[in-house]
């Protein structure tokens, strides 16, 4: 039994070599004791691999590629949530809008607008936002709306941090990330290229964040405690807050200034100003709350800050 297992392991190792292009003889030279038993099996495997090493016909490959791209174009990007995808069809969207306008009169939507993640009316709030996005027909109006929505998400993150709810901070951060990605993907900001670069940077930032448990910059370095014997005790597993700082960080938090666009020119300067202001205010708000919360939500808050910094920076640097 043991011998069988050993042989199966050796056979598999040799197969890997043969499938990677090494000759049967080359593999056998590694295991001379098993050569007699291995040879016929490896020759069969090599023959099978060779037989199956075929490529589709050129004309088929071209046709299939064309059909695939056509299908990708026709089917289009996913709208978030199947439920909303249905609702966003023109007829449903109109009905929904009327319902929402009527509901607004009764105060439901107004109440929902103040709701927080996890509360019963929160789904009404996000539904209202989806409808508003669906009816923002120009890219500029979509961008304006995304700026407002990112402000809302940051406000929610701060409120959830005050409550000590790390899970809802992460949920709101996911939504914040989606808004920032959607804004980056707007054609007049840069479209797919900017979206690609933003995704890459977010990935890299999250990777840094995940591995950064030993780096704590001076601005947020916890005070060194003194142990019973007078020795210095550094709190373990402190997590590094993001320090990408393309946008004002903790040092600016006490003196928040909105961005002065007087020097800006061009048709996108208003949007650029709005994004800059949003970035400054929101990053300051997130850094501020760090001082008032417990350890249980700090990691989630650092992630939120990281995503906000990367997202805003990428958008700002691509609005000309």
């Amino acid at each position: 039994m043991k011998k069988n297992k050993e042989f199966e392991n050796i056979l598999d190792e040799c197969l890997e070599r043969v499938l990677s292009g090494e000759s049967v003889e080359g593999c056998l030279s590694w295991y001379p004791d098993y050569a007699e038993e291995l040879r016929p099996l490896l020759e069969t495997a090599a023959g099978a691999r060779q037989a199956v090493d075929i490529e589709p016909r050129r004309e088929f490959r071209d046709r299939a590629g064309y059909e695939f791209q056509k299908a990708v174009r026709e089917i289009g990007p996913v709208r978030r949530g199947n439920f909303f995808a249905v609702l966003m069809k023109p007829a449903w969207a109109t009905i929904l809008l009327v319902v929402i306008v009527l509901a607004a009169g009764s105060g439901t939507v107004a109440a929902a607008n103040n709701s927080l993640p996890g509360e019963p009316l929160y789904s009404v709030k996000t539904a209202t936002e989806s409808v508003r996005l669906a009816f923002a027909f120009s890219e500029e109006s979509k961008a304006d709306l995304y700026v407002k929505l990112t402000d809302r998400r940051v406000e929610e993150i701060v409120r959830m941090a005050e409550k000590g709810d790390a899970e809802q901070i992460n949920n709101a951060t996911d939504r914040l990330e989606n808004h920032l990605l959607a804004m980056a993907g707007l054609d007049f900001i840069g479209g797919a290229d900017v979206l690609e670069s933003q995704l890459a940077r977010l990935e890299s930032a999250e990777e840094t964040f995940g591995l950064a448990s030993s780096r704590v910059p001076a601005a947020t370095q916890p005070p060194t405690a003194t142990g019973p014997g007078g020795e210095n005790v550094t709190p373990p597993e402190e997590i590094t807050p993001p320090s990408l700082a393309p946008i004002p960080g903790p040092a600016d938090a006490g003196d928040i200034k909105t961005y002065d666009a007087s020097a800006e020119e061009g048709e996108d300067s208003d949007l650029r100003t709005a994004v800059m202001n949003s970035a400054v205010m929101n990053s300051a708000a997130l850094y501020d709350i760090l001082d008032d919360v417990g350890e249980e939500v700090r990691e989630a808050l650092y992630r939120a800050i990281e995503i906000a910094l990367v997202g805003y920076d990428n958008i700002i640097s691509n609005i000309d």
Partner: protein
């Protein structure tokens, strides 16, 4: 791994760049897998195309479940093959190529002959379903033992044992035309 996660996340949003990359990375392997399963290159072309068209539609609902993404594509391809074989009028068993079935009992000589994929496909049909799957995924799909194990819901040791028995059986079929 993170690279694949990012790719899949974008593909789930039906990002054209991500979808195209998935298509390019997997197209040939899926084609080979299907050819080996059905032994008909022309049918395999249409079926391969259909696998990717189905994937575009279904990908927003994809969930990783700890498996490599390609295993999801192979699952779609596998279902397509099963449907095809079910619909296809049962044909009489086509014996292996005459030169292989001609009573040449020397296995080495048999495998020295240049094997065509159609012949290999016919030969694998005489193996058990599990053996067929291991051969298809390993040789045509180019998946590792670990990936095949995850996909088949078996341990790596069990897949290695299956791989061993599959090659032994395949060799016998190649030599005699039947599993002994």
């Amino acid at each position: 791994m993170r690279e694949e996660e990012s790719l899949i996340r974008r593909a789930k949003e039906r990002d054209p760049v991500a979808l195209t990359q998935i298509y390019e990375d997997n197209f040939d392997r899926i084609y080979r897998y299907i050819v080996l399963k059905i032994g008909d290159r022309t049918e395999a072309e249409d079926m391969t195309q259909q696998v990717f068209l189905n994937a575009i539609k279904a990908i927003p609902g994809y969930k990783s479940k700890g498996m490599p993404f390609s295993s999801w594509l192979y699952r779609i391809a596998h279902n397509q093959v099963v449907d095809y074989l079910r619909k296809k009028t049962r044909r009489p068993f086509v014996p292996l190529n005459e030169r292989i079935e001609s009573g040449d009992d020397d296995p080495q000589r048999a495998t020295e002959m240049k094997l065509q994929v159609e012949e290999l496909s016919a030969a694998t049909k005489q193996l058990t379903k599990a053996q067929q799957e291991v051969i298809s995924l390993r040789f045509a799909g180019e998946l590792s033992i670990a990936e095949v194990a995850k996909m088949m819901g078996k341990s790596e040791g069990a897949v290695k044992a299956l791989q061993h028995s599959a090659i032994v059986a395949l060799r016998r079929v190649m030599a005699t035309g039947t599993v002994q």
